[in-house]
């Protein structure tokens, strides 16, 4: 008897559990629900501060980018000008308040910029801002920046996701991870680290009529692909950074669509400063084993439609891009080159990559397969992304790294392909390349600049150390979401989004 009761009770509990749960939203508020990858750190500028939905909503930037045209749009800065690229005068928006009520002034901009040079922070933009000579704040709404040398496209850097404007009076060191605060369209109401964030409309936001939604709920999920089931269940509306296989699934369902707001690059870097890639013949041999069509299929896309391949770091969406036809896959040529370089029996190279980054394992395994027939044996070494970045990147003989597109490619060139660039993952050391990069930086005339870009891309094709696979950045959204904007800066502009 007791036994039967126990069983009945258990069955009842089970039934209750299966059908319990799920709250109905009966309020009239417009609520956007986003699922994002669990961020490691969220303070802007921190080494892996990739909480884009969160940071794009809490903070503002001096300059924003229009998601459709790519043009620069004033945000916290209303005007910027420079005579020759060395001295920049920036006018700031008046009447803007931080979420804690304090006023936004030029002191905050100065603080944000100087913070990049703080050695204790390891700010991602530290090297970019080394060019700063001094920052002056003649009044509360003007900032005058003097650079060490002219840099005509310097203003682009203010759109970077790391350059959220912070308050000079707020302690981000101890509160940045638990109670971040900015001037943005949404205010952080509650943050459970690594679990969820609740943001509410900033009623005193400087842009009239924005944000359109009343509330923003961000869920941090460890497995972003599984969160697609949350999308299907209606528990979230937007899932950024899904992998291409999930895209196939969503497109087959009713009520959902996949957006690709922009492209990202995946660079395969061959280290020039050591064997075997110190010999350009070996680099060329590797390039001859590539098959862009297969690579595109491995990324669940079609070459020429969503996926693009080239051997320079300039992506095809940019104005500076020069069309260079693919050399074609030629295993015999590859073997010849290897033999000429002293590797008649092939060679083995360690290939490092981040295993939990979209496309990472797919590309690495495909590349290994493609290179094998020529005798190039790639020893795959995948690591979780932060271990990869902190221990193996910049150190390995061959690397696969995801790079966001820099709207101004000169920034990327300076960082990664100048022999003294701090992020020169392929240890490229070519005097003419250095020269060209420096000239591009300081050149005011766009036509002359383009000439340099062309020459640069030709050099990359012949002797370069990089293979550039362009892959789409994918966002899964429910059809009820309207006006989701995410420009190439990677920051979703959720202030414009609405949901029915």
């Amino acid at each position: 008897m007791k036994r039967q009761i126990l069983i009945l009770a258990s069955l009842f509990a089970i039934a209750a559990m299966v059908f319990a749960g799920g709250q109905q939203d009966t309020e009239e508020k417009m609520i956007l629900k986003v699922a994002e990858q669990v961020p490691n750190l969220i303070t802007p500028g921190s080494w892996d501060g990739q909480a884009f939905s969160l940071n794009g909503s809490i903070y503002d930037y001096l300059i924003e980018m229009d998601a459709d045209t790519g043009e620069l749009v004033p945000a916290l800065a209303t005007d910027w000008s420079t005579p020759e690229g060395k001295v920049w005068t920036i006018k700031l928006r008046k009447g803007v308040k931080f979420h804690d009520g304090s006023a936004f002034t030029s002191a905050d901009v100065k603080f944000t910029l100087e913070r990049t040079q703080d050695p204790d922070l390891g700010h991602l933009k530290a090297q970019d801002f080394e060019i700063l000579e001094k920052i002056e704040t003649p009044d509360d709404h003007t900032v005058v920046i003097t650079l060490k040398e002219p840099y005509p496209t310097f203003n682009f850097i203010f759109t970077d996701y790391n350059m959220a404007i912070l308050s000079s009076e707020y302690d981000y060191v101890s509160k940045g991870e638990s109670a971040p605060m900015g001037t943005g369209p949404f205010k952080l109401e509650n943050l459970i680290p690594k679990e969820s964030a609740l943001l509410v409309k900033n009623d005193s936001y400087w842009a009239a009529g924005l944000p359109k939604a009343d509330e923003l709920r961000i869920y941090f999920v460890p497995d972003i692909d599984s969160s697609v089931s949350l999308l299907e269940a209606g528990q979230v509306d937007i899932v950024p950074q899904i992998s291409p296989v999930i895209k196939r699934r969503l497109e087959a369902l009713d009520g959902f669509k996949v957006l690709s707001p922009y492209q990202e690059s995946r660079f395969i870097a061959m280290a020039q400063d050591r064997e075997p890639f110190s010999d350009n013949k070996v680099r060329l041999a590797f390039k001859y084993t590539m098959d862009p069509e297969i690579l595109a299929k491995a990324c669940q896309g079609t070459l020429g439609k969503e996926i693009f391949y080239n051997e320079t770091p300039i992506v095809n969406g940019l104005a500076q891009y020069k069309e260079i036809p693919f050399r074609g896959r030629d295993i015999n040529r590859a073997k010849e080159l290897l033999a000429e370089a002293g590797y008649p029996n092939g060679l083995t190279v360690e290939f490092f990559y981040a295993s939990d980054h979209p496309y990472g394992t797919d590309i690495a395994q495909t590349v290994k397969e493609l290179a094998a027939p020529a005798g190039i044996n790639l020893d795959l070494k995948g690591f979780p992304r932060d271990i990869y970045l902190s221990q193996h990147w910049l150190n390995g003989p061959m690397l696969l790294t995801g790079w966001g597109v820099r709207v101004d490619p000169s920034m990327l060139l300076m960082l990664a392909y100048h022999s003294e660039g701090p992020w020169n993952e392929s240890h490229m050391n070519n005097p003419r390349v250095d020269e060209l990069i420096e000239m591009i930086r300081g050149e005011v005339s766009p036509q002359t600049r383009q000439g340099y870009y062309d020459e640069l891309q030709d050099i990359f094709q012949e002797e370069g150390t990089v293979i550039n696979l362009q892959v789409p950045y994918l966002v899964g959204v429910s059809n009820a979401v309207k006006d989701y904007r995410q420009p190439v800066t990677m920051l979703p502009q959720l202030k414009y989004a609405t949901i029915e």
Binding site: I7, S10, Q23, N40, D120, E177, S178, V236
Partner: protein, 321 residues
């Protein structure tokens, strides 16, 4: 008197184990390669800044000092500050997740204990017959499955075919676990599979042993109804060893939670541990692993005490019974 002595001894051993374990865990995690300061600052950080951060984090202090600092804080209930997420107190994120995991563990318990006991007894009573074969095989099969395999099978049934439950779940903002009990179902069921096999087999063999005892056979021979004998006499004694098994498995269950929570994305201690390892957040790793160990040791201790209490031979030890 003996019971108290045993209690004291066991308690002392538990404390000793915890101290030794804390030392071991601390040591193990600290000697691992990978510099957390480097991870925080990234690769392009200069040597000086990494060294400075290490000094600020207190990573350069001698080993025993760091250990004492950590252990001392722990005892006071202060789990320390997350090394990776500076400024975030581990306490704020830790206990919430632990709570979720405890609820999950208890749910699994609620599922598997009645089921295992019932079927174990049934198999024992009908030993050698078809019913027994079926139950035993089922028990062996489920015991052999790693939790994530049973989890996948469950997902295939409930999410893919029946479309009853989602493959991953969140607790909507503003709600707590109690309002979302359906996310417990599949994870708890996965754990149940493994536990069922183990416990039902134990219960079966214990039942068989007891049924063979003289006083049982005597009672049956005397003409008492078989079922009455089973329920009134045999069962009580057969349950005792099973209680031991259930108790011990509580600790083991916590270890298995890591797999289950990862599979279902359940926001508990298991996923927190995974996340901590990925970011090499040393204080967080230490807190998680130490806590799991603590539950393990505690459950062994409680089980042992319960067994001693319930077993009249030990409780009322006056020489031979």
């Amino acid at each position: 008197m003996d019971f108290l002595k045993r209690f004291g001894k066991r308690l002392g051993f538990m404390v000793l184990t915890m101290i030794a374990m804390s030392f071991l865990i601390f040591f193990l995690v600290e000697i691992m390669p990978g510099d957390v300061a480097q991870t925080v600052l990234g690769q392009s950080a200069t040597e000086e800044s990494v060294a400075a951060l290490r000094a600020r984090m207190g990573l350069d202090d001698p080993f025993h000092l760091r250990y004492l600092r950590w252990a001392g804080g722990f005892i006071r209930g202060d789990l320390g500050e997350s090394l990776y997420m500076r400024g975030v107190q581990i306490n704020t994120i830790f206990w919430r997740k632990v709570g979720h995991s405890i609820i999950l563990a208890l749910t699994a318990l609620l599922f598997y204990v009645p089921l295992s006991l019932f079927f174990g007894v049934l198999a024992g009573v009908k030993a050698g017959k078809v019913t027994d074969s079926i139950i035993s095989f089922f028990g062996l099969a489920t015991m052999a499955l790693p939790e994530f395999v049973s989890g996948i099978i469950l997902i295939t049934i409930f999410s893919v075919r029946l479309k009853l439950l989602p493959i991953t779940s969140i607790i909507p903002i503003g709600e707590n676990l109690w309002q979302n009990l359906n996310i417990l179902f599949l994870p708890a069921l996965s754990i149940t599979f493994v536990m069922f096999g183990y416990v039902s087999r134990m219960q079966r063999s214990s039942m068989i042993t007891v049924m063979k005892a003289d006083y049982i056979r005597a009672a049956i021979l005397k003409g008492m109804p078989r079922n009455y004998v089973i329920f009134r006499h045999a069962l009580k004694n057969a349950l005792l060893p099973t209680i031991t098994i259930i108790g011990m498995n509580m600790g083991w269950l916590f270890g298995g939670l890591i797999v289950v929570e990862t599979l279902f994305g359940f926001p508990g201690l298991g996923s927190l541990t995974m996340s901590a390892i990925k970011t090499r957040d040393i204080p967080l790793i230490e807190a998680c692993v130490l806590f799991i160990t603590f539950i393990f040791v505690l459950s062994t201790f409680i089980t042992d005490m319960m067994y001693a209490y319930l077993n009249p031979r030990i409780r009322f030890k006056r020489g031979d019974v």
